[in-house]
């Protein structure tokens, strides 16, 4: 045995000497790549006060071209859905075909767009929200385009001063609770989530991974301030709150709805409408309610990707996204609200979905400047 071991080691040493010749070029390559990277670093710095300030005068998109017969691609995230005839109506009106690409989450969408900026996989991107907005703007992802349809959109949604992105839909990230399993009265404020009576009842999502999870972190920062949010999170964890990876594992794992034993979950203000629409067996009233305190407002934008070969067709799609045909189709497919004032809400939304009267927000530039630090601090609290 000992002998055989010695033999192995001997052969191994000889082998290592042999393979070193092969490993050296690999190491060299890695170092060269590293050196290339650091050179270009400085150019990426953008010096602007707010990322939503206009960079330069926008060159107008020439709309006087024949767009019929072109095919454009729409990059979206995995929650994107529409009825069959909606995009068909667009093709009928304009002669433009639309193909959808991408199915990851919002983070994947923005990161992929940044990496493929020079040769984008799509012409239009939909699904960048206020939490990620500055990432896209700082990377100069979009062409400026001010749709004439924006007149029908309230100003509060137009966050970008440079008109590079167009607001399409919005919704509130709020805690939901399961009426029948609550240990006490329904919570009425975020403070109730750290109360002893709700020990072990709340589940939220990983702020580093999940969009509602990050929105809740931002909500606590907006509500309790730079000095107070960390303390709130410590109390939350001390009260045995759970942190699931994403919305699916929280809502469909830990929450009562998914067979779990927690009665309060971070979700959306519109979730009760889905609980009615997709109930099985059918119900008249949703089994869930919404905690309207501490809701974070998410606004989702669309933009024309700067590398597009079809800017006019892309602009037509942006206009169409603000049409009532498209806007009316949003609620029942994506469970968020249309931004135009003349959109019609479906009955189930009117009855069972709602918006927070006083939602929390943070300025996209503030989010961008502090994201790393906040996430580092958050991770430190959670890992402690």
């Amino acid at each position: 045995m000992v002998l055989r071991f010695g033999f192995l080691r001997f052969r191994f040493l000889r082998f290592v000497r042999l393979e070193r010749r092969l490993l050296a070029p690999i190491v060299a390559l890695v170092l060269v790549a590293a050196a290339c990277g650091s050179q270009d670093e400085a150019q990426d710095e953008v010096s602007r006060d707010a990322c939503t300030d206009p960079v330069q005068a926008a060159t107008a998109i020439d709309r006087d071209v024949d767009v019929a017969g072109t095919t454009i691609r729409l990059a979206t995230h995995g929650s994107f859905a529409l009825s069959d005839d909606t995009l068909a109506a667009f093709t009928e009106q304009t002669g433009i075909e639309v193909e959808q690409v991408g199915a990851g989450d919002a983070g994947t969408l923005v990161s992929s767009a940044i990496l493929t900026k020079d040769n984008p996989t799509a012409d239009v991107l939909f699904g960048i929200d206020n939490a990620f907005l500055c990432r896209g703007l700082d990377a100069d992802l979009f062409l400026a385009y001010e749709s004439p349809e924006l007149a029908r959109v309230p100003d509060e949604f137009e966050l970008d001063g440079g008109s590079r992105v167009t607001p399409i839909s919005y919704g509130d990230v709020c805690a939901n609770y399961w009426f029948n399993e609550l240990p006490a009265d329904p919570p009425t404020s975020l403070d109730d989530l750290v109360a002893e009576v709700n020990r072990g009842q709340f589940v939220t999502q990983d702020a580093e991974v999940s969009s509602p999870g990050f929105a809740f972190l931002l909500a606590t920062i907006a509500k309790y301030g730079e000095d107070g949010w960390e303390d709130y999170w410590r109390k939350l964890l001390a009260n045995d709150a759970a942190i699931a990876a994403d919305w699916e594992s929280a809502y469909r794992g830990d929450f009562i709805a998914g067979g779990g034993d927690r009665s309060i979950v971070m979700s959306y203000a519109s979730s009760p409408a889905a609980e009615v629409l997709f109930a099985d067996p059918p119900v008249d009233e949703p089994p869930t309610g919404v905690l309207f305190d501490g809701c974070f407002r998410q606004i989702e934008f669309a933009g024309i990707l700067a590398g597009t070969d079809h800017p006019a067709a892309a602009a037509a799609l942006i206009d169409f996204m603000l049409s009532t045909t498209y806007q009316n189709d949003i609620p029942l497919n994506m469970f968020v609200y249309p931004v135009v004032e003349d959109a019609m809400l479906p009955g189930v939304f009117v009855e069972h979905a709602a918006l927070a009267s006083d939602p929390l927000t943070l300025d996209p530039t503030t989010i961008e400047q502090n994201r790393e630090d906040w996430l580092d601090q958050w991770a430190e609290i959670v890992l402690a």
Partner: protein, 542 residues
């Protein structure tokens, strides 16, 4: 001297080109164009205590998961390798099913089982759940690789040992186990790679407190858009995996000996042997089938009773999905078959080169042959140990010229085949290596050229191993989620795992039922396809 056609150097060109075009080039392009980093990022990564904790947990959970998987699967491999009985092929198909189940489904099945057993507080977000899920996924790798190899072993050496007075345990320890080493090593390397870079299981079951390098790359590349840090982490992961593969490749060459392979008739079990078989099979099958049957049960629950309602809903276009369930399934199968075909073509060609390059010195594989064999052996396994995020981004950045492959479905099949090739190589190489040199020499003496020897002798002997590799390449492609989610969700690209993800993404019990019905369909489709592939085996060497 110009290499003759049919020489390993020529055959090796195909897998080498595949590796260069779809792995080396995309990664290089990504690191040059997007994943840039400098001394700041390197320092930033290594000074975080989080990095060291993550790195340690990555290695620890991979080693433990692999050891536990080996321990509980080896008895099952013995049953599959040594006996012939009714239900054997069903058993083989069943153990492979976890492989195709989307992680989100497996994770929720695990979480639900924990809740139901009242163990959620104790084991939720613990290393134990991660390891259990890894075992669940990987039992098939051991059972199929080792069991398949075992089946092709001529058992005369064991009989000789028994005649010479060795008891069954001694014969196993001193004769069978050493002969199985190449297959065990192959399975070990695959599982180590798989668990080291496993993403969904760790992210969904581990929560924020249990991270691996793979989930860290995801966190930094996607949600923080901190490409520099992600790049450093990806390189650390790549170097670690490379080290693992180098050691593995070296060990595999040392440990393989020529074997007499042939048609040993496997007996039907008798009397007390059934007891042993039951002891090996039942616990593992209970462990594997409990989460699966919970899923099937849920798929039939609708409106407070059991019915086909969730399945019927899939024949129309369900809400939120761009296609009906049947279309999604046919998309999935189409991509998986294409991925399997690419993986088998590339994998078999590479296996021939790898096996012949490590032949005994008197058969004189040239220096170039040996180098090519080594590069393919290590290089083709690397994708399995590379983070899905890195690979996905690499494809997006690189495969836009000369033809923009990104909007086509071919890119999905390519990404999936990259993960499938290692399974083919790891199944086929040990068999090719073990073919007794005398057989080859006898054929050559009778006038067969090397390519005839390969076609008429080696490949038929490796047929069942190719089948094993094909099954995995197919299964891994069918359940694949990561790469698919980067490239497509047009109606013609919506796969079943994507559809399941989308259905589970909104509240409502009806959607959950439909997602479970789709998962069940995926399971049944897998069992059927695997049994068809396995059937080809019957006439082969086994």
């Amino acid at each position: 001297m110009r290499p003759r056609s049919g020489s390993p150097l020529v055959i090796g060109l195909l897998p080498l080109a595949f590796l260069a075009a779809f792995f080396v080039y995309p990664l290089a392009a990504l690191f040059v164009e997007g994943f840039r980093f400098g001394p700041d990022e390197i320092g930033g990564v290594f000074s975080r205590s989080r990095f060291w904790r993550t790195a340690w947990f990555t290695v620890w959970q991979a080693v433990v998961s692999t050891a536990v998987t080996l321990l509980i699967s080896l008895p099952l491999s013995a049953v599959v390798g040594r006996y012939r009985f009714r239900g054997r092929s069903v058993l083989l198909a069943l153990v492979t099913v976890p492989f195709v189940l989307p992680t989100v489904v497996v994770a929720s099945a695990f979480l639900a089982s924990l809740e139901r057993l009242g163990l959620a507080d104790r084991f939720g977000n613990s290393a134990a759940v991660i390891i259990a899920a890894h075992v669940f996924f990987n039992v098939a790798v051991v059972v199929r690789t080792v069991g398949g190899y075992w089946r092709g072993l001529d058992d005369r050496p064991e009989q000789a040992a028994r005649v010479l007075g060795a008891g069954p345990i001694a014969a196993f320890r001193h004769v069978t186990l050493p002969r199985l080493r190449p297959a065990i090593l192959a399975a070990t390397s695959i599982i180590l790679l798989f668990t080291m870079t496993s993403f969904g299981v760790v992210l969904l079951l581990g929560g924020p407190r249990r991270g691996t390098l793979e989930t860290e790359i995801y966190r930094f590349a996607l949600n923080r858009t901190d490409f520099g840090t992600a790049a450093v982490l990806a390189i650390v992961q790549l170097v670690a995996v490379l080290g693992l593969l180098v050691v593995n490749s070296w060990l595999a060459r040392r440990l393989t000996q020529r074997e007499r392979r042939g048609a040993t008739a496997r007996p039907r079990p008798r009397g007390r042997q059934w007891l042993g078989i039951a002891a090996a099979v039942v616990p593992v099958m209970v462990f594997l089938t409990v989460p699966m049957s919970a899923l099937v049960e849920r798929s039939f629950r609708s409106g407070g009773s059991y019915s086909w309602a969730n399945y019927r809903a899939l024949t129309d276009r369900p809400p939120l999905l761009p296609v009906d369930g049947v279309t999604a399934l046919s998309n999935s199968v189409r991509f998986a078959v294409a991925a399997m075909a690419i993986a088998v073509g590339v994998g078999v060609a590479a296996s021939v080169v790898i096996a012949s390059s490590s032949r005994a010195a008197h058969l004189r594989p040239s220096r170039a042959e040996r180098a090519m064999g080594w590069v393919l052996d290590v290089g083709l396994l690397l994708p399995l140990g590379t983070s899905a995020v890195t690979l996905g981004f690499g494809f997006l950045v690189a495969l836009d010229e000369p033809v923009d492959l990104r909007p086509t479905w071919i890119i999905i099949a390519l990404a999936q085949s990259l993960i499938g090739v290692p399974f083919v190589v790891r199944a086929v190489v040990p068999v090719l290596r073990s073919i007794d040199g005398h057989v080859r020499e006898a054929a050559a003496a009778l006038g067969a050229s090397p390519s005839v020897v390969r076609r008429e002798i080696e490949l038929p002997m490796a047929r069942s191993a190719i089948g094993v590799g094909a099954v995995f390449a197919f299964a891994v492609a069918l359940g694949e989620f990561g790469a698919t989610s980067f490239v497509g969700r047009s109606p013609d690209r919506m796969t079943v795992p994507l559809a399941i993800g989308q259905l589970l993404g909104q509240p409502g019990q009806q959607l959950r039922g439909q997602a479970m019905a789709l998962s069940t369909i995926l399971m049944v489709a897998t069992i059927v396809v695997i049994m068809i592939i396995d059937r080809n085996d019957r006439a082969g060497v086994l």
